[in-house]
């Protein structure tokens, strides 16, 4: 961590009546980054965001922005703006006046305010709605007004609290891309809070997965998804098969984890000791399913590894892919998601016997 980081959060703790909401969090965020705090409700992500905005005071720890300690600075004096969850637009002001609110507080000349408001309206494509009141707008339009209002003052840091949380699913997908584009165009550094992993993955350049007030893992979206470092993260992000077993072979280029009913040949080394318990995480889309026993996977010494037989207990057809739940003889259920690359798919149905197999490059071994 360099001392010159744009936004520096150091050992920040926040206690509420004996409950620790944020527990010793430290992170450096670089200029231009879109950083997502991802976690379920009550994990402390919103509290952390509110401490950045100045609505909460850290119990201990420091937050510095561009080298300046923010402690003691009230929200109205901080060079950052927030887009609130469900927007908090002023109901008595028109769209234009909502956007102008912050500019007026800075005492800018009227002509400059008008020009800035117009530019903002153009940015979010709401020029025709300047005179409307917030309640006359749709949810998506309100969201854009909120964004325009929070960008109007050219904040050094933009805070987004569940930016798409109030929109329905279809609108959310469209808005997500639009929002990401605007933020990229403006080039503002951004910290967002979300409980929606898809939202975090598509919008953020880096994600911090939070639980019980702590950062469990910080990394790029693909890193978090493909190489989770803990059971919690693997389970929280996307779907996963978690298999507990024992480390029975520990080489520099591969390890073997014996889970009883199946054996994993993992094509990379790990730091661990022989005989320790380990969990293998395997994403459903990385498993292939077939009616006939497949040939041993490339890189695996024999068919005793990364291959298992079971019966199709459940399947759900989603059009572009099918999800299978394969029950093994031991009773274990394997979740498998198969892309429907051909019209007939795998040609399996309920109760069929089927084989699952996966590459030695598909698993992650979790030791915590």
């Amino acid at each position: 961590m360099s001392a010159a980081a744009f936004l520096q959060i150091r050992n920040v703790v926040k206690d509420f009546d004996g409950h620790r909401a944020v527990d010793n969090v430290s992170i450096d965020i670089a200029q231009g980054e879109v950083f997502a705090l991802l976690g379920s409700s009550g994990c402390g992500k919103t509290t952390l965001l509110r401490m950045l905005a100045g609505f909460e005071t850290p119990t201990s720890g420091t937050i510095t922005l561009e080298g300046r300690d923010l402690a003691g600075l009230p929200p109205y004096a901080r060079p950052m703006n927030m887009m609130f969850q469900s927007y908090a637009l002023f109901p008595h002001l028109s769209v234009a006046d909502n956007i102008a609110f912050g500019l007026k507080r800075d005492g800018l000349p009227a002509a400059e305010i008008a020009a800035r408001v117009e530019a903002m309206l153009k940015l979010v494509q709401l020029g025709a709605f300047a005179k409307r009141k917030p309640h006359q707008l749709s949810g998506g339009q309100q969201q854009r007004v909120a964004l325009a209002r929070s960008l109007a003052k050219k904040p050094h840091l933009l805070l987004l609290d569940e930016p798409l949380g109030a929109l329905d699913k279809k609108l959310r997908e469209e808005t997500q891309i639009e929002l990401a584009n605007i933020i990229e165009d403006v080039g503002v550094t951004c910290v967002m809070v979300t409980h929606d992993q898809e939202e975090a993955m598509t919008m953020a350049s880096r994600i911090a997965v939070m639980s019980q007030g702590r950062f469990l893992q910080v990394g790029a979206p693909a890193e978090i998804y493909e190489t989770p470092t803990s059971r919690f993260v693997a389970d929280f992000i996307g779907n996963v098969n978690l298999m507990d077993g024992k480390l029975v072979e520990d080489e520099a280029d591969h390890v073997v984890v014996d889970c009883g009913d199946l054996r994993h040949w993992v094509g990379h080394g790990i730091t661990g000791t022989l005989g320790m318990t380990a969990t293998v995480a395997l994403r459903p889309e990385k498993i292939r399913v077939a009616a006939e026993p497949p040939a041993p996977e490339a890189g695996v010494p024999d068919a005793g590894f990364n291959r298992v037989q079971g019966t199709v207990k459940d399947m759900a057809y989603f059009g572009s892919f099918t999800v299978y739940r394969l029950q093994l003889a031991s009773g274990r259920i394997l979740k498998i998601s198969q892309s429907n690359t051909e019209r007939q798919g795998a040609g399996l149905t309920w109760g069929d016997s089927a084989w699952a197999s996966w590459s030695p490059l598909s698993q992650v071994v979790l030791t915590q």
Binding site: P74, P75, A88, F90, H135, S150
Partner: protein, 305 residues
């Protein structure tokens, strides 16, 4: 068939309040209006329509209204009523707004108790409370002594609110004090219910956008509580205009208000038509702000819809 029944139900729901207003407001008002244009014969009121010598004679006497317009005494009484009602309303707002604000922002568990405290005076007779003020303000009264001890009466005299130091009772001061005290809860309650509903995140948003607490209050809280302010002001202003008991007990020769004039016409002069003319004029005076208010309410409703 079904539609028919539905319409009947609708008519009943809308009809009941209309029927109520018709029977208990419009009808009495028309009776009063009729008397105001009739002639009085010692103890009886002459009919407007008379059958006399084979001719129907209508007689509407607008003399009372002309007198109201001509006699400056009536005019100044109306002005005084409006003035004292307006001053009382402003004072209630100035005291009631911070009061309601504090209540609405107090801890949730504390709010019912605070609400109770506001309403508690209603448990004592209104008359008793006004008499209590009389006792407090009269010469050698508890409050009178305190005011004189700190020399506040000199200030009040200088402002022209009392005729001279040491004379607190039966002055504009005692009148406005009594009315403000009595009507304060009517200002606080609508303001409280309005302020308690306010979304506090709006204040955070204002703060985030660079507004200090003071600016946020004037730019966000006050505009958003406008409906509460209007409702409270109407609840105080309208009854204050026609107030009789408080001016009678706490007011003085300087503070002749329309309620007092009404009483005098009815019971001292026994001039019912004149009294009714005074009453009709007062109702019309009060109806104007009510009409403004209900139009404003309708606008607010429309904006919410």
């Amino acid at each position: 068939m079904k539609l028919h029944r539905w319409l009947a139900g609708r008519a009943a729901v809308i009809g009941i309040p209309y029927a109520w207003l018709f029977v208990f407001f419009l009808l009495p008002f028309l009776v009063v209006a009729r008397i105001s244009v009739s002639e009085m014969k010692t103890t009886t009121i002459k009919d407007i329509v008379e059958w006399k010598d084979g001719a129907i004679a209508f007689s509407l006497r607008f003399g009372n209204y002309l007198l109201l317009a001509e006699d400056s005494l009536y005019f100044s009484t109306y002005v005084a009523s409006l003035k004292y009602a307006a001053v009382t309303t402003l004072l209630c707002l100035a005291i009631g707004y911070p009061f309601a604000y504090f209540m609405a922002r107090a801890r949730r568990s504390l709010q019912p108790a605070l609400l109770m405290l506001v309403m508690l005076p209603f448990w004592t007779s209104f008359l008793l409370r006004v008499y209590a003020w009389k006792a407090l303000l009269t010469e050698q009264g508890l409050l009178a002594n305190a005011i004189e001890a700190v020399g506040l009466d000199h200030l009040l005299a200088a402002l022209g609110l009392i005729p001279g130091p040491g004379q607190l009772m039966n002055t504009p001061f005692s009148l406005v004090l009594g009315m403000t005290y009595t009507y304060l809860p009517f200002m606080i309650l609508p303001l409280y219910s309005n302020l308690a509903k306010m979304d506090l995140r709006l204040l955070e948003a204002a703060s985030d956008l660079g507004a200090t607490a003071w600016t946020a209050f004037w730019k966000v809280t006050v505009p958003l509580s406008r409906a509460g302010i209007v409702a409270g002001a109407m609840l105080v202003f309208i009854p204050c205009v026609g107030e009789y008991v408080i001016p009678e007990l706490l007011g003085g020769p300087q503070t002749q208000m329309i309620g007092r004039t009404l009483w005098d016409e009815f019971f001292s002069n026994n001039d019912w038509p004149m009294a009714c003319a005074v009453a009709v004029t007062m109702v019309l005076l009060v109806i104007v702000p009510v009409a403004v208010f209900s139009r404003y309410q309708a606008e607010v409703q429309e904006r919410r819809a």
